[in-house]
Symmetry: C2
């Protein structure tokens, strides 16, 4: 079986979690996160390097303690639409919440991006996790886990139904017969479910890739289940090689259990690689990045975020970790419950817990270009990933990876040497979903 590693680029802008100090780097423009030219340059560099996709993450709630990139950034689909006309091959994956959107609007926006880009749109489905976001949408408390995931599943099903409103040959545009639309090939949805009622049809036709690609980032039990049911790409949590193997095998097994081909869900590991001229320089750079970002007050605020933006500074830092079990549900992250459990088991103080939540994520891919290529190959062969979602602190580091690591991966037959498709599905090796109505018609015709 051919080895086909997939690469995506996740632009950091002026710095998200784990890179709070990035904006101070003289090589980083202070307005990167709101500068469309920065994103166009990033996308073009990634396309030049034959990457599969540009991946735009998102969040909707901020306060003054948030990382610089979160404070002031462009909405993902507005951003990607502008990038679309300046690129030709690279996929455009945008994050949008299934909790705070309506299926008709969002399906329409992704369908529009898919047409504008000629079949390169992807949707990273998130359910949003904090009370702060809920309060921007008229809710006092965040929806609970089960409701959010049930809603996400139904949302994706409705969106996919809407994306099939038109069969591929719905528009003969035949002047001689005076027929623009063949009305038999336009289908209402008439969906009535637990969370949504949507009549349809959608007023947008399908793109060359049939439907946008669904991405997800399932970590919890509910998240993994949702991913296995509907995702075609996953933004995986990472961790140690063993943890990544467990996650990879679990997702592929769950996907197969739903009757799906496990090759049709591509698992991307987060990798903020640190590449330098020598292994030692890379390790030194990694330590620098960690230290730069390690700020006690910020870590305390970050800790609060997992508990629904709770203010831990009202507690004694050196007393045992306070009883905040009732807040864990609000944060809605599995992480909150785990933190409480660990604090109790290890008898940690609030200070000790806060010190442990620095969001710097150690990348497995640290070293000179050869070391990084070796490690990627090792992780790929160990069954931990189908792709890597790469984040670089500066354009210089991106270029170091592209010029140093990519050619080695190509030489080993692990990465493409040219684009073989113009759609995101094509490059990811995902099938084009047949229009459901055309399929039914074909079945009925025998």
């Amino acid at each position: 079986m051919p080895r086909t590693l997939h690469l995506a680029l996740h632009p950091y802008g002026v710095g998200g979690p784990g890179q709070h100090g990035l904006w101070k780097d003289p090589r980083v423009a202070k307005n990167a996160s709101i500068d469309i030219d920065y994103y166009i340059r990033q996308a073009q560099a990634a396309e030049h390097a034959l990457f599969d996709a540009l991946f735009i993450v998102d969040s909707q709630f901020i306060n003054a303690t948030y990382p610089a990139h979160y404070l002031n950034r462009l909405e993902p689909l507005t951003l990607l639409s502008a990038v679309a006309t300046h690129t030709r091959h690279i996929g455009l994956v945008g994050t949008a919440s299934s909790t705070y959107n309506s299926p008709f609007n969002l399906a329409r926006r992704f369908a529009s991006l898919d047409l504008i880009s000629g079949g390169r749109a992807g949707w990273n489905v998130v359910t949003s996790f904090d009370t702060g976001t809920a309060r921007n949408f008229g809710l006092d408390e965040h929806l609970d886990y089960a409701t959010r995931y049930g809603r996400a599943l139904e949302f994706v099903e409705v969106a996919r139904g809407l994306w099939d409103s038109y069969e591929d040959d719905a528009f003969p545009a035949d002047v001689a017969r005076g027929v623009f639309l063949d009305p038999d090939k336009l289908h209402a949805l008439d969906h009535v479910g637990e969370h949504f009622s949507v009549a349809g049809p959608l007023n947008v036709s399908r793109s060359p890739q049939g439907q946008p690609v669904i991405f997800q980032a399932g970590v919890s039990e509910e998240g993994r289940d949702l991913a296995a049911r509907v995702a075609e790409g996953i933004y995986a949590p990472g961790g140690t090689l063993e943890q990544a193997q467990e996650y990879y095998a679990d997702i592929k097994r769950r996907t197969a259990a739903y009757g799906r081909n496990p090759d049709h869900i591509k698992i991307f590991l987060h990798g903020g690689p640190v590449v330098a001229a020598t292994d030692e320089a890379a390790r030194r750079r990694e330590r620098e990045i960690f230290e730069e970002d390690n700020d006690f007050d910020r870590n305390l605020a970050l800790l609060g975020r997992s508990f629904g933006a709770y203010d831990f500074s009202v507690h004694d830092l050196d007393a045992p970790f306070p009883d905040v079990a009732h807040l864990a549900e609000k944060g809605g992250r599995t992480g909150a419950a785990k933190l409480i459990e660990r604090a109790r088991a290890e008898k940690l103080t609030l200070r000790q817990v806060a010190e442990s939540v620095n969001q710097f994520r150690r990348s497995p891919f640290v070293g000179d270009p050869r070391t990084v290529a070796d490690t990627i190959e090792q992780w790929y062969d160990a069954g931990t990933l189908d792709g890597i979602n790469l984040a670089f602190r500066t354009e210089e580091e991106l270029n170091l990876f592209v010029d140093g690591v990519v050619p080695l991966l190509q030489k080993r037959g692990l990465f493409r040497t040219e684009y073989t498709a113009d759609t995101l599905r094509g490059n990811l090796g995902l099938p084009v979903p047949a229009n459901r109505h055309a399929r039914e018609r074909a079945l009925a015709a025998g």
Copy 2:
């Protein structure tokens, strides 16, 4: 006082109401309405001609009887974002419904477009009028008039509040002091109103024009009131010169009554001009367009649309107009009540009413370039318009206007000979709204 006519371009794509046959024209690409390159070309041609704005209308409900352009088109903001990076001066006005969006999401998307375009975004606020759209958003019946307009007003107020989340100098990005954001210049909104609760702040900063420009198309009493309160641009209904004068004076008077400067609301008349080499050729062309579009079955379906997509074909065509007063509220258009009134007063049959609803709108601007320029000047001087929203059936007709009519308007000092601003506000002569928090701070400081 200098005369400053404003011009906007409203692309027809493959043909909306009143141009159902447009897609058959060999000069119109069959995929124009979903081809981003078509829109980029239109925007660039309009910018070359120094137009103020590109105006993108919208709707969200379709069935197979709808005009070709409605059936399959791009979502306005996704479209405009792609156009933004291929233009530098022209304003980008997109239509979005205040009934079927949430303020946080929509404010964020327009703010993003405003940053991407360097201060050229405008929002045409519509409340959406049909039951069909409601059924795409989980509602069985459309919200009534008063609720929709109350919601629209509050929606715009919330959006403007969110757009002021950051003061203009909120981001010193001062490396020496380690200060990216000045937290005193970030403001939550904490809005709690009849229709919305939105905490804020928005995670996007202000653009060079401060806030996107608000457009509206107020026709009814509620619509005119909303326009006078919040709109900075109006898409006016047109009609005879006397009707347009009445409307213009009424809107300016209402705006002044709210304590606003009536010059800060720009009234755009719809004008699908018909320009040809001679007056006679233009009138002939106008008749052709009308005849081409006059189809009885379609007119009957259009009639139904004003009554909540009611199917009139179940009635005897030659009997008196049926009693559908109970449906007029559903359609939610003042037009429905007027149609019933006229049918009763003039004792019309269903057939006669249906024949009267052809959506072709006679433009006042028909003739050779000189006649069209004369008529525009006459209407401008008569106090009917500040600008015209121009729609052309083909790129050829657009060029005829640009090359024939625009130079005459310029010669008469009615239209600009170069752009004097890079923002939509700048070109429209609208003030940049000061950030409300900065204003309060200045007032407090005396």
